[in-house]
Amino acid sequence: MFTDFFYLLKDVGIPVSPTSFLRLQRALSMGLILSLDDFYTAARSILVKSERYFDLYDQAFAHHFKGAELKDPEAFELTEVAKAMLEQWLKNPKEMSELLGVDEESLKKLTPEQLIEYFLERLKEQTEEHHGGNKWIGTGGTSPVGHSGYHPGGMRVGGVSRNKSAVKVAMDRRYRDYSQMGPLTQAQMGEALKRLRNMVPVGPMDEVNIDKTIYQTMKNAGEIEIVFDRSLRDRLKVYLAIDNGGWSMDPYIEVVQTLFNYARAQFKDLKTFFFHNTIYDYVWEDPARFRKPLRVDDLIGHDPETRFIIVGDASMAPYELMATDGSIHIEERTTKPSFERLRDIAEAFPHSVWLNPKMEVEWEYTRTIGAIREIFPMFELSLDGLEKAVSHLMKKN
């Protein structure tokens, strides 16, 4: 029973095991599952083993049992919310236009379709601007849209109420925040920090701990037991270079800086540098890229064991990367094309990565990303990407 559903879960990328599927069958045959609601909860707890996949599960469930389309998540949510906004508008045009900060009259002229379009536009703007999670489509705010504010089409966006069918619960996609897809947000800070905690060097267990050995030996009534400890290693130095030019990077700069600053204690040294689009002769220690320039040539002489992490979208005009005088800043005259500079850095710091807030699927569409990937191993600035980047940085060679 429900074999299709099982394979659907597998197809959407949830690691489900046949054993757990059999276990679900057992639960079914024991008469523990009497309704679709029961099935939703039971199947999730038995089949899905991490909250990261709860969101995918919800989508698959809604698709399988309701025929809801498996849509690109962004589009799904926006249309739902836009519909809700339309309904709200129909009920109370005055309040809605006030909230949107536009003239009631100008909106009244639009047809419903145009209104939906308009709302969608507004929503897209809002999501872009407030990627860090501010109040527009947020929770508990005064906004007409979203959780605790308004119930689009009779269903809540999130919330705990269970007075509704499992399909609707699934369609709510309460676990979106836990899903690992999408760029890093403030909300995922804690999880991201845990990924960074792995950035500590580990030596082999090869030092005899005399005190513990004596203690254990006594405890064994004289039977000698030798206790080994890990040999101590020096903590890491980390250099963080952030592309802080251009609005495309704005939402991520703060996230990345907070992230590494919190992890600071575990590093021996953490330095942050700034650049715009790509690195030429200088990087800057101040975010304005003005007061404290640092020559890349000097930087290259630093300890090669330093972990060098570059954060940037790596998207720019090809000449910026390839031309000798490529910088778009008129006052910045350069002697070497940027890609050579990057190569120098990559050689000077064998442990280096490039973190890109653009998602991997988009990478092939930008030429400069491809060029930079040949120099630096590139990872997504997402929980998954961060995990991979950390394990890459911690490799021995």
Partner: protein, 284 residues
């Protein structure tokens, strides 16, 4: 073998624990399938409390194994008290029989759960602290429901399969074989509505006004950006307790944006600094 007994026992919640239906059902299914239930979630979502609540509502004894990073599996199963035996053999002033090793075997928490005469709830708290070897070995034991005591070559079998609740703060990812043997649930942070009920359970006599304003303020503070450790349920409850204990405190202070006892909510100094800053801005 205890089928009838188990199906009769259904978990519906306990006096100090507010349970959502979904979780109750997962607990019941795990009990019926005789599978350990792995609970994940941020600190303060009541993972540990759940085990206490199950034990209370099913009228079972609760045995808690607090996992520590240095722990070896055998510590959780049994201990062979060599030191006492050595002393006994030298001084001979106890009435234990030195030649009988069994007298020096003490059961660890898992061992206690196995030899107990009635069914118990076994809470394995913060499993993620231990290394993965510990986790896998432990699951073997819990699967087989038996372990060997090497020193006396004896196998201990569980008299009754305990109800096993395992909690994890997700500091480390658990291994796949481990996850494969558990049912899984992630407890999300309670929504404001749920939180009201939780607070009411702890403070039955709380005024609606205080409840409203504390909860609104609390969720606003949870939204502060750049905070590493957000205040959780436990902090909220302690905070309300502090507010109630302060004779000078009035609910209207909260409305004004005055937040006393910020230190109860934010316990890390950088977080505290950020919060204080944000609160003073809120007041303006």
């Amino acid at each position: 073998m205890h089928e009838t007994q188990q199906t009769r026992q259904q978990f519906t919640g306990a006096s100090k624990y507010v349970l959502d239906e979904e979780l109750a059902q997962i607990v019941n299914i795990s009990m019926a399938l005789e599978m350990p239930l792995l609970l994940k979630g941020e600190p303060g979502t009541g993972k540990t409390m759940l085990a206490h609540a199950i034990a209370e509502s099913l009228n079972m004894r609760l045995i808690v194994l607090n996992v520590k990073s240095s722990m070896k599996l055998v510590d959780a199963l049994y201990q062979y008290d060599t030191l006492t035996r050595l002393n006994d053999s030298r001084f001979g002033d106890s009435n234990r029989d030195v030649s009988n090793i069994e007298e020096y075997i003490r059961m660890g928490k898992i061992g206690q759960a196995f030899v107990s005469d009635e069914r118990v709830v076994l809470l394995i708290d913060e499993i993620d602290k231990a290394d993965s070897d510990f986790q896998d070995d432990m699951l073997d034991v819990l699967d087989q429901m038996e372990f060997d005591i090497i020193e006396i070559d004896k196998t201990i079998r569980a008299k009754h399969r305990p109800v096993i609740i395992i909690t994890s703060n997700a500091k480390k990812d658990l291994s796949d074989p481990f996850l494969g043997r558990c049912n899984f649930h992630h407890i999300a942070f309670p929504e404001p509505e749920m939180m009201r009920r939780i607070v009411q359970v702890h403070f039955p006599e709380i005024s609606a006004e205080l409840l409203d304003h504390t909860i609104t303020a609390f969720y606003r503070m949870r939204d502060f950006r750049n905070v590493e450790k957000k205040p959780a349920t436990r902090e909220l409850i302690n905070w309300i307790r502090a507010l109630k204990a302060d004779p000078d405190f009035q609910v209207k202070d909260l409305v004004k944006g005055d937040i006393p006892y910020l230190g109860v909510l934010f316990k890390k100094s950088p977080d505290y600094a950020i919060a204080r800053n944000m609160v003073s801005r809120m007041r303006l």
